[in-house]
């Protein structure tokens, strides 16, 4: 069902060339995935934060990401039914809705976004990064699929640093368990030079991604780094990191964004070029996917552009300098996993958001708190207060959910946003922030 507030029909949605290219890439991946039973390709299910795509490709495995499947179900308005299906089967209303959407989808035949059945995984690569729910999620899937499960533990960066013990632990897990099991499942011998080659390609695409994300420092920003950012991160957070396709896509995107900067243009929204940039925001937390366009529209209708977001760092933080490094392949994969946003301590997250507000000259911080995501949500109220204190910029808090439509209240969210924009105006005019 479409919301009556969204005027444009799907065919009316304006997309720039990079978005169309991205969509084609994602579609081609789903074709490859759903075609695996015919092609004989083996499938590895894994997660976005700590995604080891380069390693997976070394074994000719196809990468399946249940989180992305849940997002696709949310965007297609199917997740609500799936979640209720899982709850009827005994899953609690309190827990992660990605998990329930995935399990509900499995119970209803595992039909992917291309309308074809997703294959059962040959291996569950449980890359445990920044979220304890992953651990339980794959225990639940293992019970159903009864396939080998490889566990990779990423220690938490609690003290704001990566220690030798953390790297050594992860490299040992790669050598002792992850790689031998992937060899066994795939029948392909591990070749570290092949991994190096993929990592070098990753680094190239990462350079261009960072250029694109940092283009938001321009005024107006040529991109929306949250809603639009989700398109931009799709290939590199998913099945394309380490590929030529990703290099081509990010180079193409970079050129497109540079052209927008040169032309003094703002972001492309589903309703076309955005008008005047009135507000520049930093956003913390994932978006709501069941009303994604409606949510986005609440921003661009008010002239609000998101210039930086934490969510677009959940599959890797590249803007502080990290790049996959072919000269130390396994250590580099470990460092990548350790550095993802949700694996960073709360003080690190605050530092990051404060830096974004300062460097991107934002008007303030907006937190979209997700009901079923404790990894992001626990502590966000303290984050909000601390960022406000350190930047002097107003912050606001809204609550939605990832893919459960029951927790998206459009009227409430819109009211909050409108009040927030008034707060920003008051702050600018020196009248202080209304209580």
């Amino acid at each position: 069902m479409r919301s009556p507030n969204v005027k444009a029909q799907p065919q009316d949605v304006v997309k720039d060339a990079s978005m169309i290219k991205q969509k084609e890439m994602m579609a081609s991946h789903y074709e490859r995935l759903t075609g695996a039973p015919q092609t004989g390709a083996k499938v590895a299910s894994t997660f976005v934060p700590g995604n080891l795509n380069e390693l997976i490709m070394c074994f000719d495995l196809v990468n399946n990401l249940p989180e992305v499947n849940a997002i696709q179900s949310g965007l297609r308005k199917q997740s609500g039914g799936y979640i209720m299906e899982a709850e009827r089967a005994g899953h609690s209303e309190d827990v992660c809705t990605y998990v329930k959407s995935d399990i509900g989808m499995m119970m209803k035949g595992n039909i992917g976004p291309n309308g074809k059945q997703l294959p059962n995984p040959d291996v569950l690569l449980l890359s445990y990064t920044g979220c304890f729910t992953f651990l339980k999620w794959f225990e639940l899937l293992r019970e159903q699929y009864k396939c080998p499960t490889i566990f990779l533990q990423t220690p938490y960066m609690a003290d704001g640093k990566i220690t030798k013990n953390m790297i050594d632990y992860m490299v040992k897990q790669f050598k002792e368990d992850v790689i031998p099991t992937l060899e066994e499942v795939s029948g392909v011998k591990f070749d570290i030079d092949r991994l190096r080659e993929y990592l070098a390609k990753s680094a190239k695409a990462e350079d261009d991604l960072v250029h694109v994300l940092q283009s938001a420092k321009n005024k107006p920003s040529p991109i929306d780094a949250y809603f639009g950012g989700i398109y931009y991160i799709g290939p590199i957070f998913g099945a394309f990191r380490g590929t030529d396709d990703a290099i081509d896509y990010y180079r193409f995107l970079r050129e497109e964004v540079d052209a927008r900067v040169a032309a003094g243009k703002g972001p492309v929204t589903p309703d076309g070029d955005m008008g005047e940039e009135k507000y520049r925001l930093v956003v913390e937390g994932p978006p709501n996917y069941t009303s994604f366009r409606q949510f986005w529209k609440m921003f661009y209708d008010e002239g609000a552009t998101v210039v930086a977001s934490s969510y677009t760092k959940v599959g890797g933080t590249y803007d502080f300098g990290f790049r996959h490094d072919p000269s130390k392949p396994l250590e580099s994969l470990a460092e990548y996993c350790l550095g993802v946003y949700t694996n960073r301590s709360l003080p690190m997250r605050i530092d990051m958001l404060v830096n974004y507000i300062n460097e991107y000259e934002a008007d303030g911080l907006l937190i979209n708190s997700i009901k079923s995501c404790n990894s992001f949500s626990a502590g966000q109220l303290l984050i909000m207060r601390e960022v406000e204190k350190r930047t002097g910029k107003p912050a606001a808090f809204i609550e939605t959910d990832l893919v459960d439509p029951r927790y998206f209240s459009a009227a409430n969210v819109k009211n909050r946003l409108e009040s927030y924009f008034q707060m920003v105006e008051q702050k600018r005019s020196g009248k202080g922030v209304a209580a």
Partner: protein
């Protein structure tokens, strides 16, 4: 033989349980200059290392149902469990102002993030996220964990102002071995004679171990066992059940009493899991840190916050617990919004279903006040167990 009665021992334990100013721990600290107290949250930290540093490990299980949370709610959305908000309340209200350090074990995203919040709210206090391995090979998870413990020891030496020797740690391991043995005996007594050692009493006796020096607590457990064994209380026509899911946020005492009143003999549980986390004695010969690591890897309890690498083994701990305690059913009691317990529950329920073990499930919070629905649900469960048994 002790000369203390059950009621005297239980009254003391209840007073300790209700004391949210942690007077016993404060008095311990004040008794000698230079003493230090290190707080820890559920589920597990190696208390032996803290003890070896000459410090008092202090278990913080939230604020229970007697704490009015005023400030803590301002830090959390409505959809986060209660233990972090009541723990923050304890902190900001000054009830933990005598604590020299706080440990936040690796259990879930909420407690993990609380470690960072603590660093920000109480920058003068040592705060550590205590990471543990979820992989159990000696050369992989074992080495990681040993190094983490050594780093923690180094921190403790800094707080204590003196070195901690291997002999110190060995002596502490022995003291905790004695405590684990005593607690094992208490659980065995309760499983054998739940009418003489009801769960509501055993719980209070175990809880006292969070705030007392371990040596004193071991004696207290022994005193209770002796006193409870000497009494002969009436046997009721109750059903024997196991409680599971309470490994972090603890239930209100009234909840345990309500289950007993509704006809349950609770013959095993996962309350205050740290007191029984390591199974059996930890060796006191050789490298003590290595021994603690080995015990964690190979001889520790199963719970939702711990990864089970073997699908065939998943949930079997519960089946074995049912068999060992002669239980007739399992009650899944999970804290609202507890991801580990609630995500694990369907898997465990499937295991029980296959084993033909009946179960029910409900949720609670540490401050749940309305017990009537739980009493009715548990009473119906007990009745149905009796009906099935008679069939």
């Amino acid at each position: 033989m002790t000369d203390k009665s059950v009621s005297e021992i239980v009254a003391r334990c209840e007073a300790l349980y209700e004391d949210l100013n942690f007077t016993a721990a404060r008095e311990w600290k004040e008794a000698e200059p230079g003493r230090k107290v290190i707080g820890y949250m559920p589920i597990y930290v190696p208390r032996e290392l803290i003890h070896a540093a000459g410090m008092l490990p202090l278990g913080i299980m939230g604020g229970g149902d007697n704490l009015e949370v005023i400030h803590g709610d301002a830090y959390y959305q409505s959809y986060i469990c209660r233990i972090p908000r009541s723990t923050i309340e304890l902190g900001v209200s000054g009830r933990l102002d005598f604590v020299d350090g706080m440990l936040f074990p690796s259990i879930c995203d909420v407690i993990r993030n609380l470690s960072g919040m603590w660093k920000m709210l109480f920058p003068e206090v040592y705060a550590k996220y205590f990471d543990v391995p979820q992989t159990y090979q000696d050369e992989v998870g074992g080495v990681f964990y040993t190094n983490e413990m050594r780093e923690f020891l180094h921190d403790l030496e800094g707080i204590a102002g003196h070195k901690i020797t291997d002999d110190d740690i060995r002596a502490s391991i022995e003291v905790y071995n004695e405590n684990r043995r005593a607690i094992g005996d208490l659980y065995a007594l309760r499983a054998a004679q739940p009418w003489n050692a009801p769960a509501s009493e055993a719980y209070l006796v175990i809880r006292a171990g969070l705030v007392l020096p371990v040596e004193e607590h071991t004696q207290l457990v022994r005193d209770y066992i002796a006193a409870a064994s000497a009494e002969e209380r009436p046997l009721k026509d109750n059903s024997r059940v196991i409680l599971t899911g309470m490994f972090c946020e603890q239930p209100p005492l009234n909840l345990i009493k309500s289950l007993e009143m509704s006809g349950c003999y609770i013959v095993d549980d996962d309350f205050v899991l740290i007191s029984r986390w390591l199974l059996g004695d930890v060796p006191t010969e050789g490298d003590p840190v290595h021994n603690l690591s080995q015990a964690f890897l190979h001889r520790s309890m199963s719970t939702a916050a711990k990864y089970e690498p073997d699908q065939a083994e998943k949930g079997q701990f519960l089946v074995r617990a049912v068999q060992k305690a002669g239980a007739e059913g399992v009650i899944f009691a999970s804290t609202s919004f507890c991801d580990p317990a609630l995500l694990d529950r369907p898997i465990l329920q499937n295991v029980l279903k296959q084993a033909g073990i009946p179960y029910i499930a409900f949720k609670y919070a540490e401050n749940s006040g309305q017990m009537q629905p739980i009493r009715e649900q548990a009473g119906t469960f007990v009745d149905s167990i009796k009906l099935w048994s008679a069939a």
